[in-house]
């Protein structure tokens, strides 16, 4: 979760779901639950997520009490859905993200998952992911998590190159990534690795080394993100002061192409602009974001989406905890999308996916031009589906603009 909340409308007195039409349609989209854990041991220099170190909190929002707050919020959320007469359904996916969820004891994470199970139920074969820092897991904790229902581990590897990790302020030991992957495998978890490319000072060779190191661990899934240095982060300040060069989009484009080739030839084709997976191992939870599914976000700053209404929680853990303690959903704002906005989001998110997105009318007429310019794949375009080429993926925003008109 990025720190700044969007501008939206005030949450109505009836709560974030007020005004939504009750009842269900013929086919319901999958329902997912996002559980935010806003704690980290240290804050990384590039990180603009809504996360806090232990020393920054307290006042009813410390780590020890967090699971209880989250459980209470899950109950409030389930009750709100019921009150709104929206059809309740079991969660098809659960994603525990942060922060560093594994800073909390496994019992806390499982308590939160237990609340999801109790309130909504888990669909058969549900995907339950937790993010983890390689230093914060061991065989015992992973075994406990797997036994409690976690099915997937997403590890923040970022890089295999020490000087790159140092620039990113990452404290984990590269060797711990391998140990964590082995431990996860041993208890039957799917494994995903997060990588970051385009860090100032990272050479192309450095990036290749990180990719090779990641592939050597035979992950089921890889997310690779171009580093973005945001205002308000430590690295942002370093760039502003001239202590660090800014990221170079050309360098990042080259590294994206390298990653796409390397991952695809290792048997992990892309399924989203920044995500690659062995067939059948895509993140179903994340696919929900891009396919317009419903999900409920629990925790400070977490976003939710229910049937074209987006809402988001207050950002600070203390404010969040206080609202939940008072028995209120901690929503800070919401937006009810109009049909044009929904259509635009479908396009904006759909072009990110390898499965593509159907277009009609004027947009469809533009496809031949986009194919000629090497931005869109020809074969799916014949059926009116936009699937971006590698070149097109790098220019996804431009393509979105063109198709949206």
């Amino acid at each position: 979760m990025s720190p700044a909340l969007p501008e939206g409308e005030r949450v109505p007195d009836g709560g974030p779901l007020a005004g939504l039409a009750a009842g269900g349609g013929a086919v319901l989209p999958p329902f997912g639950v996002y559980l935010h854990v806003p704690f980290c041991r240290v804050r990384c220099g590039y990180c603009d997520f809504n996360t806090y170190t232990a020393g920054e909190l307290g006042g009813g929002a410390d780590q020890a009490g967090y699971a209880a707050t989250a459980v209470a919020e899950i109950r409030l959320a389930a009750a709100a859905l019921t009150t709104a007469e929206l059809p309740a359904r079991p969660a098809a996916t659960v994603f525990v993200g942060g922060g560093t969820p594994t800073l909390l004891p496994a019992t806390d994470l499982l308590a939160m998952l237990g609340a999801v199970r109790a309130e909504w139920g888990l669909a058969p074969g549900a995907e339950v992911t937790t993010e983890a820092n390689p230093d914060t897991v061991d065989e015992a904790s992973l075994e406990q998590l797997a036994a409690g229902g976690i099915t997937r581990l997403s590890l923040g590897m970022q890089s295999a190159v020490p000087h790159v990790l140092a620039t990113l302020d990452r404290t984990h030991t590269p060797a711990n990534v391998g140990r964590a992957v082995a431990a996860a495998r041993a208890v039957g978890l799917d494994v995903s690795l997060d990588l970051i490319y385009g860090t100032p000072g990272e050479s192309v060779a450095d990036w290749r080394r990180s990719l090779e190191a990641a592939l050597d661990l035979a992950p089921d899934h890889v997310s690779a993100y171009a580093l973005g240095i945001e205002e308000g982060t430590r690295m942002g300040a370093q760039v502003r002061r001239g202590e660090l060069p800014p990221t170079d989009p050309d360098d990042q484009a080259e590294k994206y192409e390298i990653a796409d080739s390397a991952l695809a030839s290792a048997g992990l084709p892309w399924y989203e602009i920044s995500n690659w997976a062995r067939p059948g191992h895509q993140s179903r939870h994340n696919l929900g974001y891009w396919r317009g599914a419903d999900w409920w976000g629990i925790g400070p700053g977490a976003h939710s989406h229910v049937r074209g209404t987006r809402f988001w929680n207050v950002k600070h853990p203390r404010a969040h905890a206080a609202l939940v303690r008072a028995g209120r959903l901690p929503a800070a704002g919401r937006e009810v999308l109009n049909p044009e906005e929904r259509a635009f989001e479908r396009l904006m998110l759909g072009v990110r996916l390898a499965e593509g997105v159907p277009v009609r009318g004027r947009a469809r007429d533009l496809l031949p031009g986009l194919i000629t310019r090497g931005l869109v794949e020809a074969a799916p375009a014949e059926h009116g589906r936009v699937v971006l080429t590698r070149h097109g993926r790098l220019l996804a925003d431009a393509v979105t603009h063109e198709l949206a008109g």
């Binding site: 939206g8 973005g228 050309d250 989001e345 310019r373 220019l395 925003d397 603009h401 949206a404």
Partner: protein, 618 residues
């Protein structure tokens, strides 16, 4: 014997004042030397304006004038003043104080017999003041040298009294010392004006002749024309004739300003006042023209009339293309009050629909632009100012070029450019810096004189084009603000000029074409292409930017193709912000101008065209 006040006042009744009791004078001063404050003090002392109704700087009516501390439009105020038991009527004619309005100054001077030369006792005389002083002396005006602001701690009255005495003739002791702020010395000055300024003379029985020294558009009254009667008499309701055009109008109202308009039974020899005829545009009542009786017209005009001639040209374009009709309406309105403003529609591939406008000079341009933005709420882009070139082709056709994009493409035999004679006054320690600047701007030194041990006057001939960019700013910065500049037209001269085009992806961007000296073409090209490379965002393809003279490329830059614009992460919490970002970009794209396939943000054009407009110098 003593007259009663009423009897005294009767002797100076407007339309019936004997010329011997009239004194017509103006104040020649530099912008911030305190002319308006002194005028305020005179209005108070003569009882024309009382303390309570006194608005600071009464004569400067328009906001822009007040903010810039300059007087654009002159006006005339009639003030009673008694000396030795005799009542006099003093007409103070306010003069514009900037180089662009030299002609208007000359017409104001032609309406006077005397001039107060007002100089800041802390700063000494400035170039424009000196130029206006010379004008006054040429017009045989009685010049009364006065040092103002003697209350300032930094005042050096002795030093500058000597300088003034040297310029005007006479002894430093003759230089009056006043403070407009405290009022010190102002009574004495008024007495001096009565004593020293000759009274007007003229033939009361001749056909009426009055010189127009100002003409102002008023929303309620139409054009108000300020005149000084030389011969004869003008009366209400008679028909008058403008001698330059032969146009006749009925005199709806005639009167004096004191300080509000007061209708009178007319104006006689030597008197100064206003006329209202119901015309709606100041160009129907032009500064410098002679007014006469339509039924009994004078044979000869008073002379000195000249059509206002634009010297500097610039394209004005609305930032938002849909404001074009508003811009046209606004210009039409400004024209009512500005006889020198000329404009015609212009279309630019880069900037859309707009107007090519002609101005007297840079200040005039700035004032018009500012009024359009402020009074009419328009957002404008103005192209780099340029002058008018006369291009002779080898087939002897002559083309006048006021817009670089209209530069003829045929074989050119000769190009002539307007020249100016510039006078620069500065402390002598800056002679080197000034000479370097003038030489760099293709100037030739005409002469140099020391006004005093520390102050020097340099005279140069310079191409006007070299002055209209940033010459004055450069001059100020190289002399720590001490130099002052005045210039006047000095014909034209042949010059080795070329037109440099800027091409974006092989298409000429008309707004950036410039006519520059051959020696500076390369520097202009390098600077402009470099600037545009930084300002234009990367496109999906490589975009070459070239500077070319005809088909010869003299500088080249390239904007590399954009390879990546996508957001790496777009999860649940990012979607709303991402959508809003794209919506914002879409709004931004609407304000892009397409040059061929290249999308250029409006801001890039503005940044390339404004303040730091390349001059061919680093």
């Amino acid at each position: 014997m003593r007259f009663s006040l009423t009897e005294l006042a009767q002797t100076i009744t407007p339309a019936a004042t004997r010329p011997e009791l009239l004194r017509n004078f103006c104040i020649i001063a530099h912008i911030d030397h305190g002319k308006s404050t002194l005028a305020d003090r005179m209005l108070q002392l003569t009882g024309v304006v009382d303390e309570r109704t006194m608005r600071a700087q009464y004569l400067d009516r328009m906001d822009i004038e007040r903010e810039r501390g300059i007087t654009i439009k002159s006006q005339a105020v009639r003030m009673p003043w008694q000396v030795g038991g005799t009542a006099y009527a003093l007409n103070m004619i306010d003069t514009p104080g900037h180089v662009d309005f030299t002609y208007e100054v000359s017409r104001s001077l032609a309406a006077c017999e005397g001039a107060v030369l007002l100089v800041d006792a802390a700063q000494g005389i400035e170039a424009q003041t000196l130029a206006n002083l010379y004008l006054a002396l040429e017009n045989d005006l009685m010049v009364i040298p006065v040092l103002n602001k003697i209350d300032l701690p930094a005042a050096q009255p002795d030093r500058f009294a000597e300088e003034l005495a040297g310029l005007v003739g006479g002894s430093p002791d003759d230089v009056l010392r006043v403070s407009g702020k405290t009022g010190e010395g102002v009574r004495e000055l008024l007495d001096h004006i009565v004593d020293l300024v000759p009274n007007p003379t003229g033939n009361p029985d001749a056909a009426a002749r009055a010189i127009i020294f100002d003409s102002v558009y008023d929303t309620y009254r139409g054009v108000i024309t300020y005149v000084r009667v030389k011969d004869g008499h003008l009366s209400p309701r008679e028909r008058i004739m403008m001698m330059s055009t032969g146009a006749t109008h009925e005199l709806l109202e005639i009167g004096v300003i004191s300080p509000e308009p007061i209708p009178t039974r007319g104006l006689g020899v030597g008197e100064v006042g206003y006329l209202i005829t119901g015309v709606k545009e100041v160009r129907q009542s032009r500064v410098g023209d002679t007014v006469t009786n339509a039924t009994k017209p004078a044979k000869e005009a008073l002379g000195g009339y000249r059509d206002p001639r634009p010297m500097v040209f610039s394209g004005l374009f609305p930032m938002d293309g849909s404001d074009y009709p508003d811009l046209r309406d606004a210009l039409d309105k400004l024209k009512l009050n500005d006889a020198a403003l000329v404009y015609e529609p212009e279309t630019s591939a880069a900037l859309g629909f707009g107007f090519r406008c002609g101005f007297l000079g840079l200040l005039h341009l700035e004032i018009v632009r500012e009024r359009l933005e402020r009074e009419f709420g328009l957002d404008l882009i103005s192209t780099s100012p340029n002058v008018e070139y006369s291009v002779t082709l080898e087939d002897r056709t002559v083309v006048d070029v006021t817009n670089p994009s209209e530069f003829p493409s045929g074989k050119v035999a000769e190009i002539r450019e307007p020249m100016v004679r510039a006078t620069i006054l500065a402390p002598s320690e800056f002679i080197g810096a000034i000479m370097e600047l003038c030489q760099d701007r293709r100037g030739s030194l005409l002469g140099m004189d020391y006004l005093s041990a520390e102050r020097v006057e340099l005279r140069y001939t310079l191409p006007l084009a070299e002055i209209v960019f940033d010459f004055f700013d450069q001059l100020k910065s190289r002399t720590r603000g001490y130099a002052s500049l005045d210039y006047e037209e000095a014909g034209d001269a042949p010059s080795d000029l070329v037109k440099v085009d800027i091409l974006l992806n092989h298409e000429t961007v008309d707004a950036f074409s410039a006519i520059v000296h051959k020696d500076k073409a390369y520097a202009y090209g390098v600077e402009m292409t470099g600037k545009l490379r930084k300002l234009i965002p990367r496109q999906q393809f490589e975009v070459p930017i070239q500077a070319a003279i005809g088909s010869r490329v003299i500088a080249r830059e390239s904007i590399r193709a954009l390879r990546k614009d996508m957001l790496a992460k777009c999860y649940g919490g990012d979607i709303t912000r991402k959508r809003k970002l794209l919506e914002k970009q879409k709004e931004g794209k609407k304000r892009m101008k397409a040059i061929g396939r290249v999308e250029v943000p409006q801001e890039a054009f503005i940044a390339a065209l404004t303040s730091e407009a390349p001059t061919g110098k680093k």
